[in-house]
Symmetry: C2
Subunit: 221 residues, 2 copies
């Protein structure tokens, strides 16, 4: 693993260092743990576990799952540059089980260290609030009920915008999750997702080869 640090991280302008000067970043760097890779399907944390740590996705992707009786419900996906674990702050315990969709890397900061930082640097305090608010915005915008096709388009568009934000192409990318997982997340049957993808391809709106997807037309939100 290369000698990575916050100060030369490609994601630094999306992450905590965004609001810090060089010296402050050095200080932050000492508190951040760069974790060994998280393997596909390995859990970052589990439901009901005591909250100790916030994570930032360096690379890869994660899903958060909540359990309703027998049923599993995916409530969110997380990609590079996004913060995982914010749910734990409220009651000092995680409320989802969050696992890697593909082999991934994360950075860790302990809840305590983060608290120290927010007290020491007002700009971090402000940024922490903004990141949490961003998560609320995301949840709000994901809350959408419509026809199955609209739901899927809305989802794809949202994915596309997120990837774009992190410097990837917004028109062509690889789906990090299985179609079944998209189905679960959207509240549809996986057969329905399959059929809609086929139809969208037929209508020449997208092209899809396995998990590689190309968005051919400008869609609206």
């Amino acid at each position: 693993m290369p000698n990575i640090s916050c100060k030369n991280c490609a994601l630094s302008n999306l992450c905590l260092p965004f609001s810090l000067n060089k010296q402050q970043v050095e200080e932050l760097d000492q508190k951040i743990k760069r974790r060994k890779p998280i393997k596909r399907s390995e859990a970052l944390y589990r439901n009901h576990e005591k909250f100790t740590t916030l994570f930032v996705v360096r690379s890869g992707a994660f899903k958060s799952v909540i359990n309703y009786e027998t049923r599993e419900q995916i409530t969110n996906f997380f990609f590079a540059g996004e913060i995982v674990g914010l749910e734990g702050i409220a009651n000092q315990q995680y409320i989802t089980t969050t696992t890697a969709l593909v082999d991934s890397f994360v950075c860790e900061i302990s809840a305590e260290d983060l608290t120290q930082f927010t007290r020491k640097f007002p700009s971090v305090q402000q940024q922490a609030l903004q990141m949490m608010s961003q998560e609320i915005v995301h949840n709000t915008q994901a809350y959408f009920h419509g026809e199955a096709t609209d739901k899927l388009l809305h989802f794809l568009l949202h994915l596309s915008k997120r990837f774009q934000r992190y410097g990837y192409s917004s028109k062509q990318f690889q789906l990090p999750m299985a179609k079944q997982e998209i189905a679960n997340y959207l509240g549809l049957a996986s057969e329905t997702i399959s059929r809609i993808f086929t139809k969208l391809q037929y209508d020449n709106l997208i092209e899809i080869d396995n998990r590689y997807i190309t968005i051919k037309e400008a869609q609206h939100g």
Copy 2:
């Protein structure tokens, strides 16, 4: 309007003063504006407006609405003791239109003043983070796809828990929103909601008279 202040407010242990001592509460009190009543269907703020203020519901109820092309989607409801406007922090603008469901009262604190407070009192800083995390927890738990009946039961149960938290009965309360609004929020037709209520009553799980509802059996979540 009675001479209300944070220090004698019934909600203070759910709100910002929770973590403050008497003197600090006095200081807070001077910054909080107690607003004139918000009338039924009046907007607290509108989509795209610049973010300036956070609100706490003193009494009454609100809904947040987002617009997808022609379709209106209710994304959340807010009740006494809950904080409204957190969505605005991320990008300095509100992303929903939030209106009163019934005649209501709110307290206001300007974004600037809140920032001041969080810097001055670390405990407020911590509490702000917890309140935002609580909102994320709420959004996560509201994210549920299942059969129409399960959705409605899940919703009622969640409502019941919220009311209980604020000292109301968890078994008997008045629905603050129209059935149509429940339908929109859950992604169902209002006729479906109507039919399910009828069926639940027939099955002796609830009793419903207009907007008065009594939950007769312990449900599970």
